[in-house]
Symmetry: C2
Subunit: 329 residues, 2 copies
């Protein structure tokens, strides 16, 4: 394993310190590393808190800032944060308007955020994301996994919170965005967890894993390497069948890199996906390309589609100022 690290046990802390030092205008770090918080907060707005295992950067700490999250609770690599982290974050950024937890559908995350919610002194609602159409159950999940679509939920709900929406309304909006969003990914290589030091799974020189999870969990099938167009067709077939957007409904197309994939390939995949959607009579109204919800150094990508309505589109377009997403401000 070759990685740019010092002691394995310091990877998460040192990386968080770098993130917050680099973006000290936007972020502050809890001295015990329990959360990364937004520096300038509205005292009366509903606070959005997310979190999960590290190794998916910039998710979630890179999405803390104006128009998105108020805090993110990082666990060790691919490990859930603990309930005391959510409680500490809620104490720091929460208001009497309440706190919304946005949680990817993994057993550990769900359980720990639920325990955290019980321990909070302010009202808490929770949205669980489960946008991955690849498989029904998986290594760490009952039901569908929450993957890159989580970014879309955090962006759209974050914009609504910034505009002053209440807790119940935000929770309903989060459910709506999640229900309007589907994703599926493909791995060309495994990732390597620093503390393990060897690849999470083995993939042959000419094999790919269709439907891989963001921790290297198994997908639908392992097949021989195909062209980008053929991969995109298979991902979109699964996503579009499941989402079933009516023709004319504006779509957000989000091509997400897993960490080890160069941008040149991601834009090539975007071009292929947009062309395929056009052939299917579907309209790409908004787009995003980049490595936003990653799996350490895994090569590969996921495609996410969200069927937008006018409100979701306006909230997607609303200003956002975070380390990883920034527009309109």
């Amino acid at each position: 394993m070759k990685k740019l690290v010092n002691k394995i046990e310091d990877v998460m802390h040192e990386s968080l310190e770098g993130l917050v030092a680099c973006h000290s205008d936007l972020l502050e770090l809890d001295p015990e590393y329990r959360f990364v918080a937004r520096k300038s907060r509205h005292p009366t707005k509903v606070a959005l808190i997310s979190g999960g295992g590290s190794g998916h950067e910039p998710l979630h700490a890179g999405f803390v800032g104006q128009g998105m999250l108020d805090a993110a609770c990082p666990g060790q690599v691919f490990t859930s944060p603990t309930p005391d982290q959510m409680v500490a974050a809620a104490q720091r950024v929460g208001s009497q308007q309440g706190v919304l937890f946005i949680v990817k559908n993994y057993e550990g995350d769900k359980m720990n955020f639920a325990m955290g919610a019980e321990m909070c002194e302010v009202p808490v609602a929770t949205v669980v994301t489960n946008d991955d159409v690849a498989v029904q159950d998986s290594t760490y999940t009952t039901g569908r996994r929450g993957i890159a679509g989580t970014l879309v939920v955090e962006k759209i709900v974050g914009a609504a919170a910034e505009r002053g929406a209440g807790l119940t309304e935000l929770a309903a909006l989060g459910e709506l965005v999640n229900a309007s969003t589907r994703s599926m990914g493909v791995a060309l290589t495994s990732c390597t967890v620093p503390a393990v030091g060897t690849p999470t799974f083995d993939l042959g020189e000419t094999e790919i894993e269709m439907g891989v999870g963001i921790h290297g969990e198994p997908g639908r099938r392992r097949v021989a390497l195909m062209s980008a167009d053929a991969i995109v067709e298979e991902l979109l077939d699964a996503i579009v069948t499941d989402l079933a957007p009516r023709p004319g409904r504006p779509l957000l197309l989000f091509v997400n890199g897993f960490g080890g994939t160069p941008q040149m390939e991601l834009y090539l995949v975007f071009q292929s996906a947009q062309r395929s959607l056009h052939k299917r009579g579907l309209t790409v109204a908004r787009s995003l390309v980049g490595s936003y919800v990653t799996s350490l150094d895994m090569a590969g990508c996921s495609i996410t589609l969200t069927a937008l309505d006018d409100q979701m589109m306006a909230l997607w377009d609303a200003p956002v100022r975070t380390p990883a997403l920034r527009w309109g401000v």
Copy 2:
């Protein structure tokens, strides 16, 4: 070789189409793929044009937009663009105020941009970047290579052009920024050029290449994997010795990923570098972390330092709106 591509000969075109489709508010693509141009241009401003081989994305096309480049001319992967591309780009975006070429110091690029300059009908000046302190001459270069510091030149000079500076002034500013900037990189893995299909160089399971070039050219030495802190020390020793910034001079610290390195590691390197600079009595006033000047799928990073003055700092902070860099607008 596993990559998300279709036919090898279509990689550059399909990727450029994806970039421009995703950022159609900012960019337009020449139908013959000779350049990517900024969509909304000032008719009276000096036009900034850069370019070079593909495989370094987002450099250069991802830096086309408000406050940075007016056009970028892409060559095939790691291959110089041809003079007709610069001429066509200058015809599209040039004004009577002239055109500034920003060129990384590689023989092919320099020669072709020089030929392009001779063929242009508007006044042309050229800035050649050579920020890499690793080696004096290299595979494709006489003198020092131009690497990630090129971004800093494009950003600062781009902001000055946006404010209406003239061609002579911009060329002088570009020379000043380049002279104030030093970089050095390290590779943990090789890159693989799609048309070749095998790694550009061989690196053992526990070896790294200190001072690697952005096409996989040899660096200073090949050594056993070290801690991130030790790697940072060696890179900064070389950079700081060569730049010799006086204490108190504000520095821009830019940690650049080569394409296959996860963000988690880049922020860890940033934290290490900032700490080391502080110990050296030096002050980080501005910072940037991300994969901006890449080498396809190479794992590794480079560190860039620019010794800023008040003017450079104000121009660095000025609004920029491009696919890859965006702030203040």
